[in-house]
Symmetry: D3
Subunit: 246 residues, 6 copies
């Protein structure tokens, strides 16, 4: 059930019994020498479709560009500024809320989106209240990060230990390999990898993390791992979704 | 060559000989009782991939939500306000321009985006100049509407005559059927269809066009037609692209 | 009937039987070596007054600065950024809409305003709806470009052929000569004139069009031509206005 | 020397010896039962032309809509919000500053503009500095209110005493009568007139000042008075201008 | 009665009989070689507490950063841009207005805030009206500048004559000495002091006023003077407050 | 060393050897029936002064209004919208960065600020880079939440167990009692307290948490506890600060 493959009449019918929607949100940013630039959007969308299949809830179009300013010193990265992402998400949710949707479950693939997305939620509640939207107090937004689920975490720990790292991780790379088994990139990864530096601006980031990886060894990823991560993430976020709408 | 399936190192290499990029832009909006809500994004992306294949140019992630405020009285529509779309496109292009891209070829699937996108281009040229970006005067943006090509137009005329209409047209519906042959919607279309009304606000629009169609008969669409439209659009926009970058 | 020459009591009375208003919009920008910087505003205002006289509708103050960023490399040009023009027009229309006006007929003298003005209209409909304005769905905005009327076009073609060009045209220069017969500028125009280049940023534009003309020969203009253009434009836009409010 | 009647080449020449410009700013707002809605713009423009004639400085297009939110409960009033006026003036001045203008002398006809215009000046200095504009520290803006000059004040006092009031004053009405002797409105003014109330929001204002006058008796105005005010204002602002640019 | 020392239940009770609030607003900016950077906030807050004590009205948290862009060439200055201050004050007042407050008495310590604050008030009245706030027409904001009271002025004149100046004045320095008798700075003040220059941008300002003083001699200040200024200011603003709420 | 008690000359001297600054940020929001509305600002400021004393770093003025939209259904709460807080912090940091500060250590007292503040940091790095600020890549911002330190957490656990809750906690109330021992509020707390509900909009929040507490029992707080929390927080944030600037 993907919104972009529905007609408006199907949506109208759907709203008679369900006012929830799943919104995948990713990013378009460097993921190290071998990771796909679309990794975060690919993963979020894939997991969202799996959850949707379980819970029979419409999936909205993937927000494929997010807040990745700190990655913009690497070519290919596209980022919104936080204030842009806030107003973007506000317009996105407002359109759906005016039509009757009330529960917005964001499945997120990028840690850098979390702060701005949470800020956007606060702004949205206030904005819809200012619009005098009917039942605006029933509007609920939730962010669910597939990569932060407990079982996903434990699997990554088990498979990769310290080499999971925190960006361009083997777990997310594996998931993209599961989705695109024909698009697996090979490159010789340097032995040294940046690790443990706080994140500040874009050029500072590239100085600390010269090839884009943050403490990770994505060479460990396999499509089979990716399937495992996918299945665990779908399972965990299905539970999270059901709790959210209950 | 899709940006989201590249690594940043591949982009860095690409930029050594090519500073152009193709950006599909669609919309998420009602397309009549049988048209897919994602029609405009689906068509733009498909055509963009075809052009990319011809000209070996990277395709950026599809902008799948555009300016569709006049459709927002139909559930399922998601729209940005024009000022939001402008700042969104500005951030999008700025990220790429800082990395070295200079020519931005937008393949557009939605008439409602045209005005705002052109406004955004003006804003972008000025903004990049204010940033003191190197060679900012070489930044060029162009919007190419697949549905406005001469041969596409003539084919639609030939196949559908007056019943092509101007929204939820059989030509765009056909193109989505070509892309998604398994997702062809059937619904009894009313005999009467709104026609010829100017477009104002959302509720006015729904009053004039009760089922969302604008003078069109999308029941005439077939996947085979869609393939024809696709091929013509790719041919025409390939030419347009080559002229643009020359 | 010019708004700035009315009292508020006259407007209150007017609104009892008429909720339409005409808004001239021009630009303050270079018009080649002999064209007046105020050309677009002068023409729009003059035509608006002519139409007003025919249809007994109030003319609001001329918006004399528009979207002319691409002309800003020529001194004397003043431009708003698109987002500024949008919010400006929004405030302008909102003030009038709150007072009871519902139909806004913009008579435009500058091609560069069109995209941004259309974007502004979409933003306005949505904004007034958000304000819960009474009968906000009756708000209608229309842009009418005096220089795009069919008869105006044919006359320009007949008088000037290819030398009409597309900026600093003899037709618009003629119209300003009709309005200001004492302010006719003479300068030796170079034999070569930029032609056929797409419009990008300001410095790029000046590079392509070194003296500001776009394929035009304004030396052909005469005040008598100007009167003809004026009369045709008033005739055509009077019809357009009557259709708009019907 | 009006900018809109110059060519860009004339401006280029002008800038070789003069980097100053005069900008009239008025408002479009109710001026009581007999005052013209355009009073403030009419007066500012007229005085600006007089000063320009004395000092041979270009006059830019009149900013005819200003900050008049408190008058918007009277039909015919058009107002920008302060943030809109700030960004409008910023774009206006930025265009001219990039071309080489450095001294901006605003001749103002509306008390309600003063605070926002001063705020805009502060914003502009900072903005141009952020743009790294050459010699941005030489940019100077000044607001000169024709109605606040000492001699203008004394004349109003002498002619009208207490009946000058503070809005829809006989002095400004007189000045418009001098400019438009054929557009003198007659209406029976109520004996009672609002007086001495602080200004808050629009509906509050209309409650306090039911016919729009603030303690004034505009019936005392004559075109001859208007000429006197005009001459004094031009004299005083000419001096003010000369001091400003020295 | 300071808001930050109340509980929300105390505020709820307070609102049953009083819908007024006092808001101190200062600035964080250089005050010459011996003046405290927080001078304006310190003075505004101190006077506000004194007035509050007289009139039993809650004092909201001090707005300690204001509009001081022209001082930003001196280290330690922190300034908002005018548009930021406007939206800041708008959010501030909106929160309180939604809770039931209607009268907002700003006690101001910085001349540079006045224009922007007045602009903010206009924006707020309009905004609250757009929100359809109950009784939005009863919202009233007033700015009261402690340093502009007649008796304060006369005392400064008497004590310091011309040496009062207009920034880093002995009167405001004295007031801070009264508040912080242990934080009295000593520095050798240069004999020459900038005087009489208009205020433009930050670097221009520092050029005109090299040590930050504007025609003042703060060495004349004493804590005893400060107490006198405090008492007069409290007396005058108490009267002003009572008039405001009556 | 408080910025507001320094002169600009002292700041200039300071910057010769130290480019760091501590910025306390709190909130103005309900803290249950007995908690002070200023709790978060009071705590952040107190702890900041303690850290400052240890590390000899200037403390900037406390940001006393933050992001507390979800508390705005309780009177006395004042909140900025996230986009307002972002631009506020951007202006705040930009002023200091232009003067030479590079390391910004925010000591935060309110969980609701975290997301927006982190978003602001991303926006700031990008903005300063756009300004072409010298060494903009050395700008570093960090948020340190006093209430999240490990030892603070363990003490709260030990003293209050489950009754610590997550808003209007006995630990933060205790800290305010330590600061203001004379302002200890007594009220009978209901036996039932909201607990475990996710946070959405303001009216939803008040419905879930009728008296404002979130699972806490602030009656357990004592000034002596407050001193312990203060000392631990200062110790932990001193370490955090030293690590940040190293």
């Amino acid at each position: 059930m993907q919104l972009h493959l529905c007609t408006w009449i199907e949506v109208e019918t759907y709203l008679q019994h369900n006012n929830s929607i799943i919104i995948p949100i990713g990013s378009t940013e460097q993921h190290g020498p071998t990771g796909l630039i679309g990794t975060d959007a690919i993963c979020a969308e894939k997991v969202a479709l799996g959850v949707s299949n379980n819970v029979k809830t419409i999936v909205a179009p993937t927000i494929n560009v997010g807040m990745a300013l700190h990655h913009t010193a690497f070519p290919g990265t596209i980022s919104l500024r936080p204030t842009t992402l806030i107003v973007y998400v506000q317009d996105y949710v407002t359109s759906l809320a005016k039509a009757g949707f009330r529960k917005f479950f964001f499945i997120n693939g990028h840690g850098g989106n979390i702060a701005t997305l949470k800020a956007a939620f606060s702004q949205i509640y206030d904005y819809l209240d200012c619009l005098n939207l009917v039942n605006s107090d029933q509007v609920k937004c939730k962010i669910a990060n597939w990569f932060m689920g407990r079982e996903v975490y434990l699997l990554a720990k088990k498979l990769y230990g310290e080499e999971e790292g925190s960006h361009a991780t083997p777990s997310e790379v594996a998931l993209t390999q599961f989705v695109y088994p024909d698009v697996i990139k090979n490159a010789v990864l340097g032995e040294q990898v940046g690790k443990g530096h706080p994140i500040y601006g874009a050029s500072n980031f590239r100085g600390c993390y010269p090839d884009g990886r943050m403490g990770s060894n994505p060479a460990l990823a396999t499509p089979e791992h990716g399937q495992q991560f996918y299945e665990l993430a779908v399972k965990e976020l299905t539970e999270s979704y059901l709790e959210f709408i209950s």
